[in-house]
């Protein structure tokens, strides 16, 4: 081989090597740029920090120098304006529809300090809850394995005046169980059954035919197996039976009607007085139902979100004609747009006295939300 030919081949080899180096450099530089984009483009998880700040802010708002501030315990006004009173403003940003849907959950419980109880928690005296309850429920359900298919949500009323009386009733009747109870002020209490367990809330009377077989005097069977049961604290027909009449201080139907109307929470529909559902209760229910439909992929319509009266027509009437179905379904639709929330959550407590020296334990739960999927 001549020298010239060898030189030419060497130059060609050098060119190939140069191109090769360029390609490698390009790949490595591209990969570094991509990694930088991947890492710095990802948002920081600041929720734990935010939850701690929120908890501290609330603790500072409630107590000073070892004493509980005056005018908090039992003060409904403070409860109503809690966020304002504690200088908490969650409307400063609007990422991921923050303003449209609350992405925080705050709960403050005031307990008697009882040295004989575990952790010192005695009777609950007062409770303040604000924000999106689904954050709390999502937190509780985070590790829950879905063991059953759910495609219906059944709304009931308790026919009892208070949350406590409804809870007592549920505890005393073994054959009856539910998933959630919603109080008039919007407080949501978990029932005795977990979401992945069947609750006995919409069963049929003995001998009643299934509606798929006979449309007359029938009942839809098998609803409990595939549904969530939610009870609303509500009397229903306020003058309808002896128990309810008693709440209206007895008297004849006319007296009862008059009393119920005077109380201001009765509404006359077709000659009967039905207890109104407060906005707070409907709002909390729509929060709760929005979370369930997202978790179980249930369509938001009247076919899948139903009343007990639709399962057992003729025998059951709840949630009754006072329940605002149209507004409620619209609220659920709006809230279910958002997606499922998850959060690590934080529940912390402190020991405090009031000015008389009475001892309390205050528990603060603060959750800052994050949309995880179905981001609209």
């Amino acid at each position: 081989m001549s020298k010239g030919k060898l030189n030419k081949m060497n130059k060609k080899g050098d060119k190939i090597i140069s191109v090769y180096w360029f390609v490698i450099l390009f790949i490595v530089a591209g990969a570094v740029a991509y990694m930088a984009y991947l890492f710095y483009g990802a948002p920081y998880n600041a929720r734990v920090v935010e939850e701690r700040i929120l908890t501290n802010q609330i603790a500072d708002c409630l107590s000073e120098g070892g004493y509980l501030k005056e005018g908090i315990l039992g003060n409904e006004n403070f409860k109503e304006n809690f966020l304002k009173e504690c200088n908490l403003n969650f409307n400063v940003e609007d990422v991921y529809g923050w303003k449209e849907q609350e992405q925080y959950y705050v709960s403050v419980g005031f307990y008697e300090f009882d040295a004989n109880m575990p952790d010192g928690f005695g009777n609950e005296l007062f409770n303040i809850t604000k924000g999106n309850v689904n954050l709390k429920i999502a937190e509780d359900l985070k590790n829950l394995e879905k063991k059953r298919e759910v495609d219906r949500i059944v709304i009931h009323y308790t026919e009892s005046p208070t949350l406590r009386s409804a809870e007592q009733e549920f505890r005393s009747i073994e054959s009856k169980s539910i998933h959630y109870l919603v109080d008039k002020d919007g407080r949501i209490v978990k029932g005795e059954k977990d979401e992945n367990e069947k609750a006995d809330h919409a069963g049929c009377g003995i001998g009643r035919p299934d509606c798929s077989e006979s449309p007359d005097n029938c009942c839809v069977r098998g609803v409990n197996e595939r549904s969530m049961g939610i009870e609303l604290v509500n009397l229903g027909d306020m003058c309808g039976d002896e128990t309810n009449k008693r709440l209206c201080n007895f008297g004849n139907d006319e007296t009862c009607k008059q009393i119920c109307q005077d109380i201001g929470n009765g509404i006359e529909i077709q000659g009967q007085i039905w207890e109104k559902y407060p906005d707070e209760q409907v709002n909390a229910l729509s929060d709760l139902v929005a979370g369930i439909v997202l978790r179980y992929n249930i369509p938001v319509d009247r076919e899948h979100i139903i009343g007990h009266d639709e399962v057992d027509p003729g025998r059951k009437v709840d949630p009754g004609p006072a329940f605002p179905w149209t507004e409620f379904i619209e609220q659920v639709k709006q809230k279910a747009k958002g997606g499922v929330y998850v959060s690590p959550g934080l529940a912390r407590s402190f020991y405090v006295l009031d000015k008389t020296g009475k001892q309390y334990t205050v528990q603060i739960s603060a959750i800052v939300g994050k949309k995880e999927k179905n981001e609209a």
Partner: protein, 166 residues
């Protein structure tokens, strides 16, 4: 001779080429591995912050020192006069600090320190708070003045947690 040199030259080229191919594969594997690692790390980007003290524990300590016994003597007054925890306030402190914060801290310790050696931890306190918090600790300190020249410090120690958990 010429042929032999050509054959040797080609063999050398084959060796060099294999080296480059192997180097390329290694570079690409390293790049892919790095991207994978970054992709994994990015999922859990958190703030790391130092947290010198726990506000809720501090509030509980204030509440504890202000608690009155049946004779309406407050805990801080009892500590000043007795120089140690007693049978009323030691179990109360255990209930508040060791039980209320057991989820938050693996260990928690209350001890009293003063200028005088006689005021250092004594029997009652050791009974309720044996040993001490060994890992990096955060302290809540409240100094109780006995008189102008003498003070007693109530020290509540617990493992520093904030920076680790975030």
């Amino acid at each position: 001779m010429k042929l032999k040199r050509r054959i040797l030259g080609k063999r050398a080229q084959i060796g060099e080429t294999i080296t480059w191919i192997v180097a390329t594969v290694i570079i690409i594997l390293i790049v892919i591995f790095s991207i994978f690692v970054v992709g994994f790390v990015r999922k859990d980007k958190r703030f790391y912050f130092s947290c010198p003290r726990d506000l809720l524990v501090a509030k509980s300590l204030s509440g504890f020192l202000l608690t009155e016994n049946d004779s309406e003597v407050r805990v801080f007054e009892q500590i000043i006069s007795e120089g140690d925890l007693n049978e009323f306030n030691a179990p109360l402190s255990v209930k508040i600090f060791k039980e209320l914060y057991k989820e938050d801290y693996s260990a928690i310790d209350v001890d009293l320190r003063g200028l005088q050696p006689t005021l250092l931890r004594q029997n009652v306190e050791e009974k309720y708070y044996p040993g001490s918090v060994s890992s990096a600790t955060t302290e809540e300190r409240i100094y109780l003045h006995k008189d102008k020249n003498e003070y007693l410090g109530v020290f509540l120690s617990y493992p520093t947690k904030c920076g680790q958990e975030s």
